[in-house]
């Protein structure tokens, strides 16, 4: 009782600290200088119809590289700690215990998975034109992968393929960024390819290329995480 009272008192104390913050808050009636710069320059400077993409890939490209690295570390740590027991006998034992997936799920998966993959690719290829981008597209691809695993748990993925897609995309992303520093104005500069016509698929310089690589990388990483966890379920039967 005393403990709960103390916790409550501490929480109330913390919330009191935020009162001056709320009292001093007043919203901006116009854009800040940085926001104004972005909104004015995204069209001609970066050539992207989607300003968010222009900021994420070009103006704040280094942050995106950091995010990709964090995701990569997460995937590696999960793969490192969840060791997979390689034994054919365990596998058959495990699958014999599983309930058979329903006809509905299997048929729907056959129809839906290619569509979901295509939608994911659409999202990251059109990242500079419509809302969305590499991370979103990759996540959508991974959900399609989850559906595939749910319908058919025996499904085996070639780990080598996932690894190669993932490392090659990450490598190309870093190389393209470095090319910007060598040829263009700075690291991850998007003008090393022609900007093209505003609003077309092949425009905005290097943004669609980088976003495609990010999409492949994120999709491969998230699928890899789910796949590792799914395979790791077999360890339990021993």
């Amino acid at each position: 009782m005393l403990k709960k009272g103390l916790i409550l008192a501490i929480l109330i104390g913390f919330s009191l600290m935020f009162i001056p913050l709320i009292q001093n808050f007043h919203g901006n009636d116009k854009l800040s200088d940085l926001a104004k710069y972005y909104t004015e320059n995204a069209e001609h400077g970066a050539g992207a119809a989607n300003i968010v993409t222009a900021i994420v890939i070009t103006y704040r490209g280094l942050d995106t590289l950091g995010e990709v690295v964090i995701l990569f570390l997460t995937a590696s740590v999960i793969g490192f700690f969840l060791k997979i027991s390689k034994s054919e006998k365990d596998e058959t034992l495990r699958f014999s215990k599983l309930r058979k997936t329903s006809e509905l799920l299997e048929t729907a998966t056959k129809a839906l998975v290619p569509t979901i993959f295509m939608f994911g690719v659409y999202i990251f290829i059109n990242g500079h034109l419509t809302p969305g981008g590499g991370f979103q597209g990759g996540a959508v691809i991974a959900t399609g992968f989850v559906l595939m695993l749910l319908a058919n748990p025996q499904f085996k993925v070639n780990h080598k393929v996932i690894e190669y897609i993932e490392s090659l995309s990450g490598f190309s992303f870093a190389i393209l960024g470095a090319l910007g520093a060598i040829i263009g104005l700075g690291f991850l500069d998007n003008k090393i390819l022609p900007l093209g016509t505003f609003g077309e698929l092949l425009s905005a310089g290097i943004i669609p290329v980088i976003y495609s690589f990010i999409g492949l990388k994120v999709g491969a990483e998230l699928s890899g995480i789910v796949e590792t966890l799914s395979e790791n379920q077999s360890e339990i039967e021993i």
């Binding site: 809302p131 959900t143 379920q233 339990i236």
Partner: protein, 81 residues
């Protein structure tokens, strides 16, 4: 006005589901409640004019996280037995 009301209703749903996710005794129900929090949050993001974030939240928050939690739950359950 309609915008404010719909955002408020969605926020209330999210709050209720979040409380369910915390206090429910059955872990399966709690995980599903957590996934639904992600789903409704993505709708709120969409209403707040952030379609990029909404997409991520819908795919990761309600799709992948739920599945990963179920995998982990299954593993933990089997270890206990």
């Amino acid at each position: 006005m309609l915008y404010t009301i719909s955002t408020l209703i969605l926020s209330l749903i999210v709050l209720v589901l979040a409380v369910i996710a915390i206090i429910h005794k059955n872990i399966t129900v709690a995980i599903i409640a957590m996934g639904t929090v992600g789903l409704f949050t993505s709708v709120i993001f969409l209403l707040l004019a952030a379609p990029d974030v909404a997409m991520t939240e819908a795919a990761i928050g309600s799709g992948l996280t739920t599945v990963i939690f179920f995998y982990v739950l299954n593993k933990i359950k089997n270890h206990d037995a």
